[in-house]
Amino acid sequence: MTDRDLVYPPSVTADRHPSDLAEILERVLDKGIVIAGDIKIDLLDIELLTIRLRLFISSVDTARKAGIDWWETDPALSSRAAKDALAQENAELRERLHALESRVDSDERLSAVGATVAEEGADR
């Protein structure tokens, strides 16, 4: 092993790029080996904490546990949501169609009534 090949930057504090922080947290929070400490924050606690901070940790499972499920309703991210969106659209269109049909119906009835009145008038 040649240690010289492996030159890590001695400090990363100058770089405040948010995704850089997300990547560091991703590793520092729940990667690495766990050797039961006497005092520790539950990994799950840290996760929930971090979700609350809206930094990044939003795995499907843990985030859902925390009640964060926006992706399930975003058509861009979920094919199920896409289908739902289409179904919803369909339902709305049906409703509009129904409304239009009943309007047409009542228009027809009105004109029918008008015609009858006209006919009755003519008969007289």
Partner: protein, 282 residues
């Protein structure tokens, strides 16, 4: 409430094997005034620091990490020490906030895990972790302009068609980017001794303009950086639908549990193992 017995706790950053770690003393660590030091436990060396019990007890720690700035400060400090140690010796990183009541307890904990730690250290010696992230830019522009509601019921069918087409092309686009991500994974995997999938980041990090489709970590021999970069350059030329980002070298955070990919380690599952899918290159 009984006062704590000791005024300081032992905060552990990492476990190393061999190497000259004296340079670490120059690091501020968690900036508690105490210097970063090493603690010998049999064949292992822990990188530790004394921290005030008042500031790092369970409750204090929880409060501390609830504060975004403080969390960032601690995470960066923790990471900096691990990174520096990994440059000097094979290093197993410990998660943020690994604390022992005193040095003896730390030694004891390390002793209990000596065999598995040595296995892990052996595995990561001479290797580094690289992160590869693949993003899909937000979906393609819809084939037809957004249906104007003013079109009215007359064009209802056309509107539905447009919606369907848009949806289909979005799904196709997503499938294509997932396949492209798989090709990236396969290519990098072929250079690595181990690979792991990490959780993709949410929009809070990526921004709405792109979706994270692959978040993977690879353990590579130290000499293979050039090959890795060449492979990614070639992938970037071929896969024009996706963005590929490389980060590293990292201390082997994702591979610290040693033989996951080999199935060689049976320490009882950590939460980590349930969440990530460690896959073995075939």
């Amino acid at each position: 409430m009984t006062p704590p017995e000791a005024s300081t706790l032992t905060y552990a950053f990492a476990v190393c094997h061999g190497g000259a770690l004296t340079a670490l003393a120059a690091l501020p660590g968690l900036d508690t005034g105490a210097s970063v030091r090493t603690l010998t436990a049999g064949p292992l060396t822990a990188v530790v620091q004394d921290v005030p019990a008042a500031g790092f007890g369970e409750e204090a720690l929880r409060r501390r990490l609830s504060d975004r700035d403080e969390l960032e400060r601690c995470a960066r400090a923790h990471h900096t020490v691990i990174t520096a140690a990994a440059a000097l010796a094979p290093t197993v990183p410990l998660p943020l906030a690994t604390l022992y009541l005193d040095d003896d307890r730390a030694r004891e904990a390390l002793g209990e895990r000596e065999t598995s730690l040595l296995t892990a250290l052996d595995r990561i010696a001479g290797r580094a972790e690289w992160g590869v992230k693949v993003y899909a830019p937000a979906g393609p522009p819809p084939p037809a302009p957004e249906a104007a509601p003013a079109d009215g019921p007359a064009s209802g069918r056309a509107y539905l068609d447009r919606v369907r087409t848009r949806q289909r092309s979005r799904e196709q686009h997503h499938t294509q980017t997932l396949r492209a991500a798989e090709r990236v994974d396969t290519a990098v995997r072929s250079l690595a001794v181990a690979a792991r999938r990490l959780r993709p980041h949410g929009v809070e990090v990526t921004g709405k303009h792109r979706t994270h489709v692959l978040n993977a970590a690879y353990l590579l021999d130290l000499g293979r950086e050039r090959e890795l970069r060449a492979a990614l350059a070639s992938l970037r030329r071929d896969e024009t639908d996706i963005q590929i980002e490389l980060s590293g070298p990292w201390a082997p955070y994702s591979f610290a549990d040693g033989g996951i990919a080999d199935g060689g380690l049976t320490d009882g599952g950590t939460a980590d193992e349930r969440r990530t899918s460690g896959r073995t290159p075939s």
